[in-house]
């Protein structure tokens, strides 16, 4: 039972990061109908910059802010400079361009920082508190929950309570009509990419200290888990992404806890295949509304 509790909390903490990263994928999917396969590489790029700034200034938190702001800027640049010019007649085009971006970003990072793992320190202790002799949550886990929770709340407020959020939703659902109503559709798309990349950068900052450290490929495995979470949730659904992230986190924790860590990546892939075969629209997708 102790072990089960420990694994559950560990799974939720990992899952929260997957939720954030899946949310970033969903944001771009909703805005542009592209699965941004470059999201992981983009997040690693901002994490490298963040840790450079942190070691230069001696403050993790300055680096943290740089990562988020860097994500905003990088997302906007990727949309304006690359994605805007992708021909959307085939959905594969965006995917191929995004994969190309992954290779470019990882190559450039390797050239600048080298292909060795670099240590990435966590801002809080990762030692778990003992409750009744059971190790449950660390300060770092609490930080992860708070950060992801804040992102979910802020995004919900943005999309449901603000004019900008309304414009973003309208531009995504009905670009032509939105233009006629005075919505700057291109600007909303750029903003969507910027926000998504910032959320992706946050997820990167949260996960990298819990793994082997900074490396150009540091987010590759996380990407697969988060992508599975997003597909599980339906790609279109922000709530689905959050729930999907937690489910994948728990699955990974239980599988690695009871069956061994080497089996865990396989379990994620099996889940992905099962979802794609059994319920390809995900658990949270709404029935397609008629548009006429």
């Amino acid at each position: 039972m102790d072990r089960f509790l420990y694994l559950t909390f560990d799974g939720l903490s990992r899952g929260a990061v997957y939720s954030a990263f899946a949310l970033a994928l969903v944001l771009i999917w909703r805005a542009a109908r592209i699965v941004n396969f470059a999201q992981g590489a983009m997040a690693v790029a901002t994490a490298y910059v963040a840790y450079s700034v942190a070691s230069a200034t001696g403050s993790y938190w300055i680096g943290f802010v740089v990562a988020i702001v860097g994500g905003l800027v990088l997302g906007a640049v990727v949309e304006r400079v690359v994605m805007r010019f992708v021909d959307h007649s085939s959905p594969l085009n965006g995917v191929v361009v995004a994969l190309g971006l992954v290779l470019i970003i990882q190559g450039v990072l390797g050239m600048i920082y080298g292909n060795n793992f670099r240590p990435a320190e966590a801002p809080f202790s990762r030692d778990a508190f003992q409750v009744g002799g059971v190790a449950l949550l660390s300060r770092y886990d609490l930080f992860v929950f708070a950060a992801v929770g804040a992102v979910v709340v802020l995004l919900t407020l943005l999309f449901t309570r603000t004019s900008t959020g309304l414009r973003m939703r309208a531009a995504a659902f009905a670009p032509d009509v939105s233009r006629l109503l005075g919505v700057p559709v291109g600007g909303m798309l750029t903003l969507g990419w910027a926000l998504a990349a910032a959320v992706g950068s946050l997820a990167g900052m949260l996960v990298i200290p819990t793994e082997l450290g900074l490396h150009p490929n540091a987010m590759d495995l996380l990407f697969i888990s988060a992508f599975t979470a997003a597909v599980l949730g339906g790609l279109d659904s922000p709530i689905g992404a959050v729930v999907g992230g937690l489910v994948v986190g728990l699955l990974l924790a239980y599988v690695s806890g009871y069956l061994g860590a080497t089996v865990a990546p396989m379990a994620v892939l099996i889940l992905l295949v099962v979802v794609l075969l059994g319920r390809p629209d995900g658990l949270f997708s709404r029935a397609k509304a008629r548009t006429a």
Partner: protein, 234 residues
Amino acid sequence: MTALLEMTGLTVGYGAAPVLHEVDLSVREGRIVTVLGANGAGKTTLLRAVSGLLHQSAGKITFDGVDLRTVKVERLVRHGIAHVPEGRGVVTELTVDENLRLGGLWRKPRPDLGEIYELFPPLANRRNHLGHQLSGGERQMLAIGRALAAKPRLLLLDEPSLGLAPKITAQIMGLLRDLRDRTGLAVLLVEQNVRSALSVADEGVVLNLGRVVTRQKADTLADDADLRHAYLGF
């Protein structure tokens, strides 16, 4: 009085073949001009050219003296033009209230949506319903209400009667007449439903295969049996 909207020699095409040939048309403030004609006559193309969704290959469109070629689609509403596209263009994933808010978002201060709900009482009861839950008539009301939330000087309406019961069509036409008289709104109304369009319009323009066949006062047009038989099918 000079015209609010003025087209001269307008030629527009998809690809090489023009759909509209050298169309001259003007709409003055406080007037309803209806564009009539069979399917494929170029009516929708005409509206899309005005709002810049299609690019003209020749000719000129001015609105209140401004050359509309220099105005981006998303700036059009700031110049006072609201376009209700064919098929109504309600954003079906948003609620009634969100659709209406969207219409007036660019205005400062934001318009009072209460006025719109007063114009369209059925919408007031369905504020929080999603667009796809509405009936055809309600969607049309919502699309027009949303356009009016932008407080336009010119309303471009594409087939508002499409798929609606005659009673609702009559209500919408009555509303247009009322808005014209009260606020001086100018309307460019594209319609297949010739009778109801001529009942409300000041002038009618008949398009055939992309050319203006005639332009007359609405009641004259309604009385011209030959023209009606030849181009309007009744």
